[in-house]
Assembly symmetry: C2
Homo-oligomer: 333 residues x 2
DNA sequence: ATTTGTTTGGCAACCGCTTGCCAAAAGTTG
DNA sequence: CAACTTTTGGCAAGCGGTTGCCAAACAAAT
């Protein structure tokens, strides 16, 4: 079935070009190191033989694999789509191959998987991680790590600035006359959850609103659905949820219970995931430039390869912003 | 920043266990080849040193990389989520690492990417491909290929059986009294599009219905939206779309135009993607066991490593089925 | 006790590429 | 033109495994 006419090696090129293999290696990897004429000759021979470096042979002596790991908790969570795509494209562009790994929301699976692929990659991006700060710190000792949406001392990260989006959202709600709002929180341990909650609280208080925390929910559609009763109990007229999935669950449950969104309850989600505009009404949400964040994550990782000694890098050029669709309206009098 | 205390090698183990490196290699890779006591000693030493094989060092002499490529047209297309997850899990379980590559719907990008990662992988799964039959055939000469949802002579594939789901769907529509239906087709060149259309036509004719083909649309939400006018022009009371994305676009456009779904128009999608139940009404759709298909794709690929000579393999144990939600109703009298 | 067969483990070559070191060739300088 | 510097390219030693071949050790058979 397979043909497998042995791929050309630098030895084949060397023979064809009449030079030493080491010369071929240098011609191809260190432009300028050898005579331009010789280099051209080598390149010509390489082309003629349709030569591709053997990445493994190259990785052995150099230790560089040109592969990056991207860890996510759940591949099917739409939050990651754009993140992954941004990372994938940036990686491809820079000559790196992205390996996507899924932890299935389990820190055990995550460590195992990481352990398995760590030898194969030059660095890792933790898209979402269940690992503890210490584990992350330890991981970062082995291979460069870039965290997305989380901060750990001494580790590089890319975390967007949520505050503009959150400020807009709270202002939007205030403008609509809402006085009492709530935050439907995600996982307790989540760094980003705490960040969002703190920002929300500050802004709400500043604008003279009260804000309740409906805490510790699964960051899923079901989690949002399950939080509905507590949202009603809190007696608020508007909520911001930890993410869109929860907002959608909440929205659907509200509708099912005969509570109209947005007239009875305004809902703002987070992330602008795929499908968040399929709902009825379409979801208003705080949008993150996820694709750019993905791109920035790999760029940051690559930078950290060079600047090993300079301590952790922080990519923070991205900001959140509010996207108003149909799930917010004037507060009921 | 990095510690990088050189990872242990088989030489370290050999020294610790007082044996030759080759013995270590055999103890670890060919159980039974050497004395059980020695093997235990070696394993103990390996554990003590926290040894991990260097996949690159291993790959050099063997040519086996334990990596698989999974090519998709668009990472952000939700159809692939479950497919990818199934593949990822199966791969991880079998000790393989999945590299996900995106062709961005371009056959050029696709060949380039493939060319780039081909040396690094043992085989490739083509989740969706823009490549021609000949290109696929050629690719398959270089490394084992498994096609998903497409057939090419001489190449292994995993294609689910669409007929049960399609039969159910047509029957469902017939039972609801629909006499004139349409198929909103996807890309012309798509193998699976043709398959679905043919099946649909057969079934419709068998049940005495007329069926129109609204052809050659982008397989996206916008594509579905754009097809709406032609659907109306066709004067049908129900449609089946090439995929859910199109169904959603069609549904939204219909609603926007004041055409009620399902009372004025029944819609059935394909794939049961994430978000297809967010719509109003939630979409009825023909469901594919995508995760299982992903799993089966990697299993088929691995099988083909062993059975090189036995010709192409075909995994076809999965079947489509109809999932009735809210977008279908009795035909208007 | 000798022959024959089977385990077991060491030796060394090899996978394809990189790179430090060195010598020959070419270029500069006074 | 000699003395010195720079450029260029070859040599060979790895990187960390795998594996064919072989000999020593042990077991079974005669």
């Amino acid at each position: 079935m397979r043909v497998n006419e042995k791929a050309a090696t630098i030895y084949d090129i060397a023979k064809l070009a009449g030079v030493n293999p080491s010369t071929v290696s240098r011609a191809l990897t260190t432009p300028g190191r050898i005579n331009a004429t010789t280099e051209a000759k080598v390149r010509e021979a390489a082309k003629q033989l349709n030569y591709r470096v053997n990445p493994f042979a190259r990785a052995l002596p150099t230790g560089k694999t040109k592969m990056l790991a991207f860890m996510v908790a759940d591949i099917t969570n739409p939050v990651f789509f754009k993140l992954v795509r941004g990372a994938e494209q940036a990686a491809a562009e820079l000559g790196y191959t992205l390996v996507i790994a899924e932890s299935q929301e389990s820190s055990l699976v995550e460590s195992d998987t990481l352990e398995r692929i760590l030898p194969s990659v030059d660095g890792v991006i933790l898209g979402t991680t269940r690992l503890s700060d210490q584990e992350i710190y330890a991981l970062n000792q082995q291979k460069p790590v870039v965290l997305v949406n989380r901060k750990v001392d001494g580790v590089s990260d890319v975390v967007p600035d949520n505050s503009p989006g959150i400020a807009e959202a709270v202002k939007h709600l205030a403008d609509l006359g809402h006085k009492h709002i709530a935050f439907v929180a995600g996982p307790n341990a989540s760094w980003i959850n705490a960040d969002r909650w703190n920002l929300l609280m500050e802004n709400a208080v500043d604008l003279g609103m009260t804000i309740a925390e409906i805490s510790s929910n699964e960051p899923t559609v079901d989690g949002g659905r399950a939080a509905f009763a507590r949202v009603r109990a809190a007696g608020v007229t508007a909520v911001v949820t930890y993410n869109d999935l929860m907002a959608i669950g909440l929205l659907r449950e509200a509708t099912a219970q005969g509570v109209n969104v947005p007239t009875d309850l305004s809902i703002i989600g987070f992330d602008n995931i795929f499908g968040s505009d399929f709902t009825n009404p379409p979801l208003s949400t705080i949008e993150l430039p996820l694709q750019k964040i993905g791109t920035e994550a790999v760029e940051t990782l690559l930078k950290s390869f060079i600047a090993e000694q300079d301590g952790p890098l922080h990519g923070t050029s991205e900001v959140a912003s509010l996207l108003v669709r149909g799930s917010t309206a004037k507060a009921k009098a």
